[in-house]
């Protein structure tokens, strides 16, 4: 077993609207913040992994280097849908674990304010004047909306409804109450894009996007960036006591893709690869779900949060509804979930999300989470899903006291 890898420094920008900052500015703010937080500079970094999904071919890694330091180190520009940030982090961790670098920097950034509905195409698709079969399905006109839906809200709505059909107990109101929880949590997070509490009636009465997901039950498009500096165990031992005290142990770093399942070509399967990632993460870390003091999971829609209680083994199989109804996932419950406010209120700047959730967990483990601190937090889990699909799960542990 290779030596442990540690998060030495981490930073996230305020999520929200940043009309005066471009992606490079935001990435630089996050990266400089993470370096400063870790007490290191760009000169120390041996590898850089970076992601910006909406401009995945632009080379955000090298753009960032030109902004904060061109040192000639290898750059991995990564793209893995909504798991892009977690993939960047995983890449930096792999390089350190492999012994190729003492330090690695991972960055995720996105500008999404005003992006509107994702999936299903942003511009009108015109029907042809003369029918001619096109593409893999030989379609003569666009199929989105005629044969099911390509929209993200609709896709994840079906994922939640499928769980309800299989195990029972779900309803429009139940899904809305999950959203009520996350919006309530967000009121304590000054970096959240939205930190307004909504009543259940307000959530259910808002604009319907894709039943049963109304607008506040969908992740919020916004701008933001997050970055993390990772360090090898051997190098950490040479650093100052304060750096060692604040370092957070990466007890598991897992990335999976979706294995074949009967229905996966019809409806993306976000369950199997999350279960695989969770199981591998628990095995790698020796941590069990009951040990978790907090969980940040990928609530891209309220309907998604429910299925991931089950997928991440936070409850017994099929028990996600009673688990939520027990109050376990509220911040004063047994397994607080998305105390940051989650993607529904904190916001979802796609490539930043998979590092921002790590930032949240680290801050609780360091005892630096301010008003929303989960007292005595020692172990946390961060999870993201990118449709297509990719799943990242990281388990983080507080440094042993020095």
């Amino acid at each position: 077993m290779a030596d442990d890898v540690w998060i030495l420094g981490i930073h996230m920008t305020k999520f929200g609207k940043h009309p005066d900052l471009d992606t490079v500015d935001l990435a630089a703010e996050a990266a400089m913040g993470a370096l400063k937080d870790g007490g290191v500079t760009m000169k120390d970094m041996g590898v850089l992994a970076a992601g910006n999904l909406m401009a995945a071919n632009a080379g955000i890694g090298q753009q960032l280097q030109k902004q904060i330091g061109q040192t000639g180190i290898p750059v991995f520009n990564v793209a893995n849908a909504c798991a892009t940030g977690a993939t960047a982090l995983r890449t930096a961790i792999m390089a350190v674990k492999a012994g190729e670098a003492d330090y690695g920097l991972a960055v995720g950034v996105e500008k999404l304010s005003g992006a509107g509905l994702l999936g299903g195409g942003g511009s009108p698709k015109k029907d042809g004047n003369v029918y001619e079969p096109k593409g893999r399905y030989g379609s003569v006109v666009p199929t989105d909306g005629r044969i099911g839906t390509d929209t993200m809200p609709g896709t994840f709505a079906q994922i939640g409804m499928e769980y309800g059909h299989k195990y029972g107990g779900t309803s429009f109101e139940l899904f809305a109450r999950i959203s009520e929880k996350n919006h309530a949590h967000s009121t304590l997070n000054p970096l959240a894009a939205y930190s307004k509490r909504f009543t259940l009636e307000e959530i259910m009465g808002d604009i319907m996007i894709a039943y049963p997901n109304t607008r506040p039950m969908c992740s919020a498009n916004c701008d933001g960036a997050a970055a993390a500096v990772v360090v090898s165990d051997a190098k950490l031992k040479t650093l100052d006591p304060d750096q060692r005290r604040r370092a957070v142990k990466v007890s598991a770093s897992i990335l999976t893709s979706d294995p074949w399942q009967d229905q996966c070509q019809i409806l993306p399967d976000v369950n199997t690869l999350t279960k695989m990632a969770a199981d591998q993460a628990y095995a790698q870390s020796g941590v069990s779900p009951e040990d978790l003091d907090l969980v940040e999971l990928h609530d891209c829609f309220a309907t998604a949060e429910l299925v991931h209680y089950d997928n991440l083994r936070l409850c017994a199989e099929g028990e996600a509804v009673p688990f939520f109804e027990s109050g376990a996932t509220w911040r004063d419950g047994a397994t607080p979930v998305n105390v940051s406010g989650g993607l529904e209120s904190k916001g979802h700047p796609i490539a930043a999300t998979g590092i921002a959730n790590i930032w949240e967990v680290c801050h609780h483990l360091r005892g630096e989470a301010g008003d929303r601190q989960i007292e005595g937090a020692k172990v946390g889990l961060a999870h993201v899903i990118g449709l297509g699909s990719a799943c990242g799960v990281h388990i983080l542990e507080k440094a042993a006291t020095n």
């Binding site: 698709k125 003369v130 199929t143 044969i147 079906q158 994922i159 409804m161």
Partner: protein, 140 residues
């Protein structure tokens, strides 16, 4: 009668409209598009498989916001056609949660999607409620 073409190449028109999947001869996995090797078992032989035309609605959403040009609201769903999962809209019923329910029995139905400038009709498919089960449900 106008000439008709299917909306997609896995829809077979005619007297008994149905969907055709490509079935892996080794493991039975079914695909609606071409594959070089089976995503399930990596075998490379496929044969056509006629998908049953009735099934059960195992997931749905009612889409109210969609890409420009897509008429809303509509019901998108996943139908278990006797073991083969199929993606399609639930049609010929009101698009609301009172009329569309998880587990409802549905059957394939076709409809004209549009006509091109040669007068050729594009025919799509969806799944409509099987009335008998609705009656049973309301009696039960």
């Amino acid at each position: 009668m106008a000439e008709q073409v299917p909306l997609v190449n896995y829809l077979v028109l005619g007297e008994d409209p149905h969907l055709v999947a490509q079935e892996c001869t080794s493991c039975g996995a079914k695909f609606f598009d071409r594959r070089n090797a089976c995503a399930s078992c990596s075998a490379t032989e496929f044969k056509p498989f006629d998908v049953p035309t009735s099934g059960e609605l195992k997931a749905f959403t009612i889409v109210s916001m969609a890409a420009p040009g897509v008429p809303v609201p509509f019901v998108a769903g996943i139908i278990d056609c006797d073991g083969t999962p199929v993606r399609g809209n639930v049609i010929n019923t009101e698009p609301d949660p009172d009329h569309v329910t998880l587990g409802m029995k549905v059957k394939l139905a076709t409809f004209v999607v549009g006509t091109d400038e040669n007068g050729t009709e594009a025919v799509g498919f969806g799944f409509e409620p099987i009335d008998s089960t609705k009656a049973e449900a309301s009696n039960g």
